[in-house]
């Protein structure tokens, strides 16, 4: 299950945000300060953090700096929640320190959920090209090639291939595929996952790239 960390020093705001996210099917932890947040990250490694910009003990940029060791990228997406819009052309608060996105407080809840989903889906926003042996995927356009041959894939199979190839050798469960590719946790879509896997294999037209792990999910294995 995807784990989110909500950081806000104002308990009502934190609880309301957490409740919204829990209803959307996420597991949510709350931290009430910047130092709390850093401790939570260490103890429970969240998949995404929603970080209030203004807190008494430290502001978001400080938290982001502490999450980074040296020049390393932060290992998970961070969305800044802020009460202040910024003037056009200003560097967005926190973006230059490694935040993925920001949300102005009071934004529609559907928009907030869409941004959380979006940030989770593209956990490595700076990587535009995935290359695994002869397979290359352009994350921006969605195009994929095996050697010089372009692969014809519909959108969902393309997203699924992107997800699998982004984590080579790792088994990705059906539930995660459903949530991240189809945006649902409804198990009735499982046959869609199988159909998508079938389409990917047909497009690759070579055995071995996509392994079925019975009862669990799929694994990408780069072929020579």
């Amino acid at each position: 299950m995807t784990k989110l960390l909500v950081v806000d020093d104002e308990p009502r705001t934190a609880e309301l945000t957490a409740a919204l996210l829990r209803r959307a099917g996420y597991m949510v932890e709350i931290a009430a300060s910047g130092s709390d947040a850093l401790a939570s990250v260490r103890s429970s490694s969240p998949d995404l953090m929603l970080l209030d910009y203004e807190m008494p003990d430290m502001e978001a940029p400080e938290v982001l700096d502490s999450l980074r060791s040296g020049a390393d990228r932060i290992a998970f997406p961070v969305i800044i929640l802020t009460g202040a819009r910024h003037a056009a052309g200003d560097q967005v608060l926190g973006i230059e320190r490694g935040a993925t996105d920001y949300i102005v407080k009071g934004t529609d809840r559907q928009v907030l959920l869409a941004r959380v989903r979006g940030a989770l889906r593209d956990r490595a926003p700076e990587t535009r090209l995935i290359a695994c042996g002869r397979l290359r995927i352009d994350m921006a356009s969605g195009e994929a090639w095996l050697g010089e041959r372009g692969l014809k894939l519909e959108r969902r199979p393309q997203l699924m291939l992107q997800l699998l190839a982004g984590r080579p050798g790792e088994v990705v469960g059906r539930e995660e595929l459903l949530e991240r590719v189809w945006g649902t946790n409804y198990a009735g879509f499982e046959h869609s996952v199988e159909q998508a896997a079938h389409q990917i294999r047909r497009a690759l037209a070579e055995p071995g790239w996509i392994e079925t792990v019975r009862g669990i999910g799929y694994r990408f294995v780069a072929q020579p």
């Binding site: 819009r85 910024h86 003037a87 056009a88 052309g89 200003d90 560097q91 967005v92 973006i95 993925t100 996105d101 920001y102 009071g106 928009v111 869409a114 941004r115 979006g118 940030a119 889906r121 593209d122 926003p125 352009d138 921006a140 356009s141 969605g142 959108r155 997203l159």
Partner: protein, 178 residues
Amino acid sequence: MESATGSSPSPEVAAALHRLRSTLARLKAELERAQEDGAAPPLGRLQGDVEEALALLREVERAALGLVSVLVVDDDARLAELTARGLRRMGFDSDSTDAFREPRPGEVVVFDLGLYSGLDEAGRSALRALRPIVVTGATDPGSRALATSLNATDYLVKPVELEDLAAAIRRRMAETSR
């Protein structure tokens, strides 16, 4: 030296501030009346007021801070959101949608031609009035003619680089302020 009376805001800011105060005053009055009557406050109306207040606040912010608001319309919701996020990271105030909606005041519309066939005549004429930036997956002359018919200020072929899109938005803004 600043004058004691401060500088006067633009007419748009003044109007939005005025409406914001009226909306908040109405909200306060509703709550006071409900408290006096010992009745449940009218939730639907209060929620409407709060949303209106936030929309007005956004108008004030837009005018006061010179925000550039952008609405990215693309039938691929994921691509729309990815583009909008990229624009946010570049300092634009951007939102995304996979179905054309009435934009907020001052919003620049980036429209994917893939959605054109789904628009009725009212939608098409609304879009023409907005002078959108048109994005298309196809390079055929038909789509360029379509963009022209939509009164587009710019025409970009996918995959669109964010820098090119940002430049098109800036051109569009410069044109408006002229």
